[in-house]
Amino acid sequence: MGKKRDTLGLVLVLASAAALMVALGMVFLYAPREATMGDVQRIFYFHVASAWVGFFAFFVTFLAGIGYLARGERRWDILALSSVEVGLTFIAMTVITGSLWARPVWGTYWTWEPRLTISAVQLLIYVAYGMLRASVESPERRARFAAVYGIVAFVTVPLSWFAIRWWRTIHPDIMTGGEGMAFTPKMGYTLLVSLVAFTLLYATLLRQRIRLERAADVLTRLRLRAQNIAK
């Protein structure tokens, strides 16, 4: 592995890097300065894009969990695990950058309002996914438990999405144009490009993470063979 030319991997890396550069350029040079919040509102573009990718990654884990339970194939387990790991990074980005946005806008880094609380709980739930996997010895049982856990844990995604509609919250709702935020078409295009860039980045990272897990499987098989020869 690695010696073969990975054309698709290279294309994904270049495409996501280029898209991120364009998105950054639009965030700082194209999108207008928001009237109420000022420059700090520019955090919004990558904050929303990373939340989208985090949610999408957990949706992929949800689907992969169903795929594993239906087929019992290792590739579904690898997809679920890889997507959780990448998704966790993006949700961590969302929570941290949200706090940095909140400080000048709300006057505090953190408040226990519904969206933020659910995001924090979601982060911990998916960290526990990794702990669950580490605690089960048998590969089949580990994959089965993780699949069920990944399916159940996905409930945090619609909960987080609807939290700002179901409960009183100070978190802005971008689907309604952002309460307290003057949303212009240029801001919309910038957000769209950021979403595309982050989705490409997710695809790139997910692919690499899957390759890593496959390599780990090859190593496990080689170790088993070496043990059998030694016996």
Binding site: D39, V40, R42, F46, M93, I96, L212, R225
Partner: protein, 50 residues
């Protein structure tokens, strides 16, 4: 002034977390490839994970 500090900090966090993830995957991949190559040569097999 402090507002631009938050903006810079937020984008630095995006960059730093992406770097950490990419670097950790790269380091693990390198280590795995090395171990696979070592074991494969000991077992007299052509090394390859794909």
């Amino acid at each position: 002034m402090s507002i631009s500090v938050y903006l810079v900090a937020a984008y630095a966090i995006f960059g730093a977390l992406t770097f950490v993830l990419v670097f950790s995957m790269w380091a693990r991949q390198r280590q795995l490839q090395q171990e696979i190559a070592d074991l494969a040569s000991r077992l007299g097999e052509p090394g390859g994970a794909e």
